[in-house]
């Protein structure tokens, strides 16, 4: 099962390596990990996408909570939540036809064309991880030159929030 775990962590040197080290030392999967400072400069917000059985996920959350730098943790997939990932993607487009086709695809997926040359088109798409997968899968006729995914960020729906 895929799980999204959000944590607030002290914005200290080495905090990221404590989390990354925990996952590698205990053999847990990381599908993606994103981290950046919050409005409170002393705290970073981290979103981790991981997979595992319920038992493994329970251990992951316990082990993360045990890290001294972790202030608070929320398993987003426990409740209603919103997840977003950003994709930057560059494809080779040589014919007018293929350009038109790609523009239509972008409309369907609500993506944006953010750069364009006679040979390439660069696309930005902010969606769930799953929709990004579908978008990439729809590009079978194109030569993908570069794929840059941000990894998933997530937030709880409604009145629930992760704050100290």
């Amino acid at each position: 099962m895929r799980h999204i775990i959000s944590i607030l962590i002290e914005n200290e040197a080495g905090a990221l390596s404590r989390v990354a080290g925990l996952f590698s030392a205990r053999g847990y999967n990381i599908e993606s990990l994103t981290v950046a400072a919050t409005e409170d400069a002393s705290l970073s917000r981290m979103t981790i996408v991981t997979t595992g059985t319920d038992r493994v996920i329970e251990q992951i959350t316990k082990q993360l909570n045990k890290l001294i730098d972790v202030v608070k943790l929320l398993e987003l997939t426990d409740g209603p939540h919103i997840e977003r990932e950003m994709l930057l993607l560059k494809v080779a487009v040589t014919t007018e036809d293929s350009q038109q086709q790609l523009r239509r695809l972008l409309e369907v997926f609500e993506g944006h064309l953010i750069d364009h040359t006679s040979m390439t088109m660069t696309i930005q798409l902010t969606q769930t991880g799953e929709q990004i997968d579908s978008f990439i899968a729809a590009l079978t006729d194109y030569e993908i030159l570069e794929t840059v995914r941000s990894g998933v960020s997530g937030i709880a729906r409604g009145d629930k929030y992760l704050k100290i």
């Binding site: 962590i9 002290e10 040197a13 080495g14 390596s17 404590r18 080290g21 030392a25 038992r55 329970e58 251990q59 316990k62 082990q63 909570n65 045990k66 001294i68 730098d69 972790v70 202030v71 100290i164």
Partner: protein, 583 residues
Amino acid sequence: MELSGGEILIRCLKDEGVEYLFGYPGGAVLHIYDAIYRQDDVKHILVRHEQAATHAADGYARATGRPGVVIVTSGPGATNAVTGIATAFMDSIPMVVITGQVATANIGSDAFQEVDAVGITRPCVKHNFLVKDLSKLAETVKKAFHVATTGRPGPVVIDVPKDITDPAIKIPYHYPDEIKMRSYDPVLEGDPEQIKRAVDLLLTAKKPMIYTGGGVILGNGSDELRTLVKLLAYPVTTTLMGLGSIPYDNEQFLGMLGMHGTYEANMAMHECDVLFAIGARFDDRVTGKIAEFCPNAKIIHIDIDPSSISKTITVDVPIVGDVAGVLHEMSKLLQSVGRESNKKELDAWWKIINGWRAVDCMTYDRGTDMIKPQAAVELLHEITAGDAYVTSDVGQHQMWAAQYYGFSKPKRWINSGGLGTMGFGLPAAMGVQLAYPDETVVCVTGEGSIQMCIQELSTCLQYGLPIKIISLNNRYLGMVRQWQEFFYENRYSNSYMESLPDFVKLAESYGHVGMRVERPEDLKPMMEKAFAMKDRLVFMDIVTDQAENVYPMIMAGKAHNEMHMSPNCETPQSPQSPERELS
């Protein structure tokens, strides 16, 4: 009062009540060592290898319950300390380790004696700090002690760059009395609802079993455990780390469980219907085959660390909290509700258990002309009246010490259970002897293990530590040989110790007393003689039966009811033949 960084560090230790600082000087900590020189409050113990500094501090912590404190230099000083830090981490021992670091400006430049100490120790510490700002030094030390000693204890490393301790830079000194960390607030009080559920479940048991671990000793819960065990009248076993929390001769005590546990303890685990785990972590040496662990039992588990609960074995009633407090609450509740009527079932259960006890699984061949290691340990118990602090190294001698010494008090049995660190015993004994100069401190070891930190005989001379070293010398790395006998058709690959030193002369050259014992009849008089020398370290090189194995044994990957018994022991079931399953 204005102090330099080096002075602040030592002053913090004084204010923290630190008695001994175990360490070894070097370039990056010279400013600190100068501050050590100019005061008398914190006594520095100069070891001969940084690994020994960490083990000595660890032994001190295990015997006293107070944190052990270490100082080492950067680079190799820090890397040599890692084994001792990992040892303390695996057994949840409170320790604060100060590692020197190259000057802040040189960090990351591959400077002389530079290693990323914070990076290298990260996986084997409870937490670590790199001090980048002198004004944060005192607060960091406070945090380190707070984290090391509260919740589930553990080692904490403080990496201190040389420029932070510069004697030319002084700032006002203030050591906080208390510290709060928003990210760290361990749960200490057990949930009353869970405690009630646990008591209810315990009282429904027909075949109950209590399984306790090192947490009872670390959490000072032995008295509370004894009270509760008496109230319940249930059988109790302890792990290797829990020995002494209940007296060895308590009639409800079934002995140690696990890989080299007793027949009765392991069988009772396998057959029980309610298992009450207290401050124990279901280690693989205890559980054996996970899929067949306590197959019929509902499980209650008290632990201060939430991540220990349902880690390998799913439990039914988890209680997160301080062991002593939770046990006290449970006893109170038990007394108020009174005992339910499971007395008849309990009597029947004890009958079954006593049948297992009658197997006498700890018996061994006492009639040979060779010294049996088990006999040496039993004699040690007799001569020390069972009241010594016993440290050990790792291997067969460790198991025999655990099985045959007979501990009556907590914090007397000091061994590296989790990491299994050879070389632990002698330096750990130094820490214990410093803490308790008037107590009898014994290091039970083997000729393999003792050579891993033998240089500490020099430290023992310097500080006049009258440790008694009981070296069970079988000219083999005995536990390795045992596994090679069982699983590798007697191919004794590199387990034979050739070219052993003359341990008597070795001890003497370090200024101590050495004795070699070869005949069973000499053992008692010589051991008595050794222990009569109250103010001398005596190294007893005891030549033991080479072929002796540790029994009973649950082979790796087997269940509790599949024990391999000693050839001297008659079992109600045929002994399991060892199979080629390793882990």
